[in-house]
Assembly symmetry: C2
Homo-oligomer: 834 residues x 2
């Protein structure tokens, strides 16, 4: 028979950094006989409930012999990891009970749902939020029947599990969630179980360095428990096959103090794991006490537990002559053909009865009183602490008045500015007003994104020692910069899920590295809406400043608008997408986003100097509508226009306004209307997106029949699918981002992507039959300009002067000289056309 100990290296068996050596007699350790028995039986109860969830649709307490008709038709769930997670959960319960420490449990290994459900049911929190799943035999059976069945619960933990703030579906994010939860949560302990499968994912591997960003003075503690049970689905895991020495080196190098607990001996494993937990907790408290008493930055070496225990421990040892416990065969359902194979059925019954259910549950099916003693005090149960349901501790931000961050814009387009500058000042004051529950995250681009005013409120978080030459770096800095979109997103998720607020910013193209993470967070939020007891969370705010249209120089790799494509596939009440066209709109949108709840807000706005269109007052009105007509750039006098020039995004807005200018200047008699869209969702019908425009509002902007040239920041299909079903939808001609015709080289994006002012004007004219003859000359001129521009930029490395120096003016006579620009330090050259 397969022996688990064969897996352990000699070093694992003979050495240990844990307080109790593996060769110690069974009664050596922190647990007295009574505690030990209680703990073991509590664990057995949890294990029993896991097996029940996987197999049973009837006969929950085995009151009668097990028969095929008691077995579910489809067997799902992962036994392999569940038993280890129960082990850890029950031990952490003991720690909480004895030391009164507020603790959150994060279950990283995949499909460990049965364990989290079982432990929540045993401690009572499951029944408190799901009253029909009572703490008796009826409730137990309902729990079993709901597991992985239609209308029931998934096979991993999720929002339905009251003791989880983390969804165990897509692997890799447990440790970053743990650290996000610990930041600014000084009294919290986050016990984070990481499976050795999950430990192979890149996001998890990249999460270990989070420990360097933890400040023991003001942050809580994360206790990672790396659970090496040896196998993934069918192959061994990398870390489980490392030598003892490499494993210790690795985790020391990662900044931790590893404590190894290894074996399959009972009750020895209980004693050793309990001793390890106690020691780790002592170390954590010592680190925190030292740092808090001395008040100076400390580079602490935080503890970490490496638990090596058999996969599917306490389950069937051999099935059909093959070893199962401790092998990959224990990964999912160890006995797979129970319904049709009487031998398997018998083995299942023996396995379940090995836990002696009648000794664990009383006649009603409730956990026996003496075992409930191990459950922590009600408020400290891991399914009851406030941090696991962060909305319960959410405090609204103290937000400054956005009127103080207005940029004066005397006339549209008269001012050139970098839109995020004022936002930086606004965020600086948000940080000042909310020093304990708001953070800014990003991959080292806060400065580059023109948000540097925030450094007046707080420094960057130092992940190591500071040098004199460093810029705004301190151990207690609250601007968290790490060159990892995964960590920015994951830390912020953990921070929000425990009831705080924040944002992160990055390059538009590279935000796609976390497409899947954002999808999973959106799914979490969608599900939360179905549980009233899951209180609303602050929204997740993502600012994309270095966007596709401004990455001509960085080249093709930096140009992608797909992040929004992906989020828009999620449910509309969770997703908001904003394209503020200038500084005043950007501040407005952000203020709105920081007040919103349970959303993912994606805000795209460039950081380069660009035209400012709206005054603070106009911006407020425009943003509150989501989209509106811009009268200064329209000349249709509220009559039916020849063409509607619509735009969403800063570059498209400039090009659309300039196209309006060109059309009015070169095509006398044309009636143009310009519509700007800030909040993309308004384009959809209200039955599709809750804040979509009704028909009257939509047609008040876009009319019911005029051709619409829509200059859009992203993919054309986004607009096409949003206006699907609107009157005469074929009149929407969308010009958006496309890399389909591109070259390898940097280029003038606007020209090649058919969204230049000239191209928009040409295309608009092609849809206005009544002006075709008047417009012929203009079209010839516009086309010539496009060709000139192509040649010019290759020679001079900058735009044509008439593009570079263009500015909006309402006087279209040839002799008109625009007034000099008022702000932006750059005195613009007067415009000369041709």
């Amino acid at each position: 028979m397969y022996r688990f100990n064969a897996l352990l290296s000699s070093a694992d068996r003979t050495e240990t950094t844990a307080p109790v050596p593996p060769t110690a007699p069974e009664n050596v350790g922190p647990l007295n006989a009574e505690r030990l028995a209680c703990l073991h039986r509590y664990w057995s109860a949890a294990n029993y409930l896991c097996v029940g969830q996987i197999y049973l649709k009837a006969n929950a307490l085995l009151r009668e012999p097990l028969r095929a008709e008691h077995i579910k038709p489809r067997l799902l769930g992962h036994w392999g990891t569940s038993v280890g997670q129960n082990f850890i959960y029950v031990h952490v319960n003991r720690l909480i009970s004895e030391r009164g420490v507020e603790t959150v449990f994060i279950s990283g290994p995949g499909h460990g749902g049965p364990a989290m459900n079982a432990c929540a049911w045993l401690e009572g929190t499951y029944s408190e939020v799901h009253p029909s799943i009572t703490r008796d035999e009826v409730g137990m059976l309902r729990l079993f029947r709901s597991f992985s069945t239609p209308g029931g619960i998934p096979s991993h933990c999720g929002p339905h599990t009251p003791n989880s703030l983390h969804e165990g579906g897509e692997l890799g994010y447990s440790l970053m969630h743990a650290f996000g939860a610990a930041f600014d949560n000084p009294d919290l302990l986050v016990a984070c179980v990481i499976g050795d499968g999950e430990a192979e994912t890149c996001p998890l591997e990249g999460s270990w360095k989070s420990v360097h960003f933890l400040d023991p003075r003001r942050d809580g503690a994360v206790l990672p428990i790396l659970h090496l049970n040896g196998y993934k689905i069918s192959g061994p895991t990398v870390e489980a096959r490392l030598s003892h020495e490499d494993l210790i080196d690795l985790y020391r190098g990662r900044g931790y103090q590893p404590v190894v607990v290894a074996g399959d001996d009972l009750p020895g494993m209980h004693q050793r794991f309990a001793a390890a937990l106690d020691a780790c907790h002592d170390t954590i408290r010592q680190i925190q006490r030292d740092a808090r008493e001395r008040g100076v930055p400390v580079r602490a070496r935080w503890p970490l537990i490496i638990l090596r225990s058999p996969k599917g421990w306490t389950g069937p040892k051999v099935v059909d002559g093959l070893p199962v416990e401790g092998t990959f065969r224990a990964h999912q359902v160890p006995l797979a053909t129970v319904v049709s194979n009487p031998e398997h059925l018998q083995q299942l019954e023996a396995w379940m009865r090995s836990y002696a259910p009648q000794s664990l549950f009383d006649e009603r099916g409730t956990l026996r009183q003496e075992l409930q003693a191990l459950t922590p005090p009600a408020a400290l149960r891991m399914g009851a602490v406030a941090s696991v349901n962060g909305g319960r501790r959410l405090v609204a931000l103290d937000l400054p008045d956005i009127a103080d961050y207005g940029l004066e814009v005397p006339q549209p387009g008269e001012v050139i500015a970098e839109a995020p500058r004022k936002l930086g000042e606004y965020l600086r004051d948000v940080m000042r007003n909310n020093p304990y529950n708001f953070r800014v995250f990003g991959p080292d681009e806060t400065n580059s994104n023109r948000l540097n005013a925030v450094f007046d409120a707080s420094d960057r978080t130092a992940a190591g020692p500071c040098l004199e030459v460093d810029d705004h770096l301190a151990a207690d800095g609250r601007v968290m910069e790490v060159l990892s979109e995964h960590l920015c997103e994951g830390w912020l998720e953990g921070y929000l899920l425990t009831g705080r607020h924040g944002m992160w910013s990055t390059y538009e193209a590279f935000a796609q590295t976390v497409d899947s993470m954002v999808t999973q967070h959106a799914k979490w939020l969608q599900q939360c809406r179905e549980f009233a007891w899951r209180r609303p969370l602050a929204s997740l705010n993502i600012l994309l400043t270095s966007h596709a249209w401004r990455n001509d120089h960085n080249g093709f790799s930096h140009q992608s608008t797909g992040f929004v494509d992906n989020v828009l596939q999620r449910r509309s009440d969770v997703i908001r997408v904003y394209y503020p066209p200038d500084s005043n709109c950007l501040v407005n949108v952000f203020d709105h986003c920081l007040r919103s709840r349970n959303c993912i807000n994606v805000i795209t706005c460039g950081k380069q100097p660009d035209f400012q269109w709206l005054s603070p007052h106009q911006a407020r009105e425009h943003c509150s509508r989501g989209a509106s007509i811009w009268p200064f750039a329209s000349n249709d006098q509220n009559q039916l226009p020849d063409v509607v020039l619509a735009c969403a995004g800063d570059v498209p807005t400039t090009e659309a306004v300039a196209a309006s200018w060109l059309l009015q200047k070169h095509v006398p008699g044309i009636r143009v209307r310009l519509v700007n869209v800030v909040d993309l969702g308004v384009l959809s019908a209200p039955e599709i997106r809750p804040h979509g425009f009704d028909t009257a509002s939509f047609e008040a902007l876009f009319t019911a029949q005029a051709p619409v040239m829509f200059a859009f920041h992203g993919s054309t299909w986004v607009i096409h699918s949003m206006v699907h079903g609107r009157a005469n939808e074929a009149r929407f001609h969308v010009r958006g981002f496309s890399d389909r015709g591109t070259t390898t080289t940097p280029f003038d994006m606007v020209v090649l992507n058919t969204m230049s002012r000239y191209q928009l004007a040409i295309d608009a004219l092609s849809h206005i039959p009544r002006l075709r003859e008047d417009a012929a000359q203009a079209v010839i001129f516009f086309e010539a300009q496009l060709r000139r521009h192509h040649v010019w930029i290759r020679e001079h490395f900058e735009d044509l002067p008439e593009i570079r120096n263009w500015q909006w003016t309402s006087d279209f006579s040839e002799s008109q000289q625009p007034p000099p620009l008022a702000i932006g330090h750059v005195k613009r050259q007067p415009f000369t056309d041709a």
Copy 2:
């Protein structure tokens, strides 16, 4: 003034694992005086070229005093990393020259383009592929002018750089590309530079473990060179601030043998780095010799170099009174206002002249003859080796005849099978026939995906010691399983980019974790098509077997079809998307994909037992067309049908065929046509996708006016946007995947996602006015069935018997009993309706 050595810990300064201690006199080391001088001047030449690329649009060789009009209007490029990369590149050149080792250079740090361009130009390979960039002053200026300007080249390396197989745009993938390149490339050395910024990304952190998957007997070597220059854009990097001890522990724990070279002293750094390179190469050859001679698996500890050198080394030390060299200020353009600030202009000139360009380049502007001696022999230049342009060494796969992997299907729907089983047999034989240039990658799901026949050809790659209990695990296994989609994708990319073939498979939902990687690879392929000298590569094949429609039990987190949404945004000649409806189509599609070049093929096909529709012969014809009418499920006799039932995807196909069955059975006189789409791209017009159907072909299937109920595997917008522009596009009613109305719980996906056979039938009837009255009874029945189904599955945890036991039959009379099923071991119950 800021001293770089302040950055080094005492340990770095006093200890080193490199062969030459940092305190040794300058003449101690492997370089004699002549070699040392040559190497230093070659490095200076490369540095000079980098500065030129960043700043100059004229006066390339400083033949006249530098003036503002010689300076580009917009200064771009990253000086900070370039100089260190030049240092490494030049030293690797020396190694190659002396030892004749075939080497590929991977430049990981961001925006190191100037260095790669410079080194390729110096060695001559740049001019060989870009003949206009000659090896003289004219060519030098053209290189400068093309850098980061319109119509030019990006600021990072890319396909235009002949010495790179890696694009330096999105950070994180250098090391996985390096290992992908080394697998099955026994004589290759991959010198992979990793910046300390890139080292913070999760994909990079997860890549280190690749070393455990390397077999020294048959794979080449990767020499990672971790370049710690201390800073990202404005903050310090995590690893640069680790203590010496932690850093050594970390890399030992990761399985390497680290050699540290630190300092800013010259020529000492040259001697020490040269000695380190020599020592590492010795170690590598020793490992390979031992392993190859003894022929047994060896767990080698491979060398790694940690280079600590100042950021922007040899650049301006102080600018405007602030330290620059060795600080974050050297990251990008150290002197930013050269045009307007005469002092900066003067400083730039002094900096450039400090390299003494006239001593490096001859009168023509060519690198001086004595320096060219350091360039490796022509065929071994890193821009000339075959692996850097993998198409040059691509050998077509020896593919078996797919006729041997046909599944007998006597009548449509008569056989139930798991589609990937036969594919597994096919892939087994592909592996057997191509034992050195084909690999299968996946996150430990080869078995679960029913591809386990491949294990008859090769084992899993063991990433550590093997145990008796392990299943198909061996050090020389070629099935690479690692629980990381990033590594699967990245290794395969590296493998393909060096001229080999392969595929990887995963869960559909979790493929989205690599959205961005796949986007970047697509962009690489798109760009390659513009360079004839970049020879065609084997396509990247991705199989998605555990798809959204079959993850009801795993829950919401496992349900997402967005991977295809994302790839479809890329240029159409690079992207192919297939939805084979059964086993015979799947093998057909795969065979086609393995023969294709320069594509990304995404194939979605479930692994669960399902109906088989087409015989091998029918499948071949169907797949070669891309889409066709299925006569068995149609009764329109080639007349105008009342409705076209279209489908793409295996679950949609079953539901659409069943809807056809229901309609024919319950609505006498109805004329139905069923169209199945395998190759999604055929729906687009040929001007949008090259293999799209022309109008005649399209309308031969979909008619020009009949309503089309389209059951689609993914998002509805995909079909809507593809049929945009076809005749009467509003008649396409798409039912696709949506999570917008979902609950938290597992559920019968088909019912909730409005794609059930009943819902399709109801919706189809709503579009056929002539049958509205005849159909009323049928609609009532279908709606009742939907309600019954909803209740039934919650009680019985499986589908209604009439769904579970349904099978296709062409006799629609009430009394008809379908024939028993022929294959699949499961004797199906006869169908009973109501």
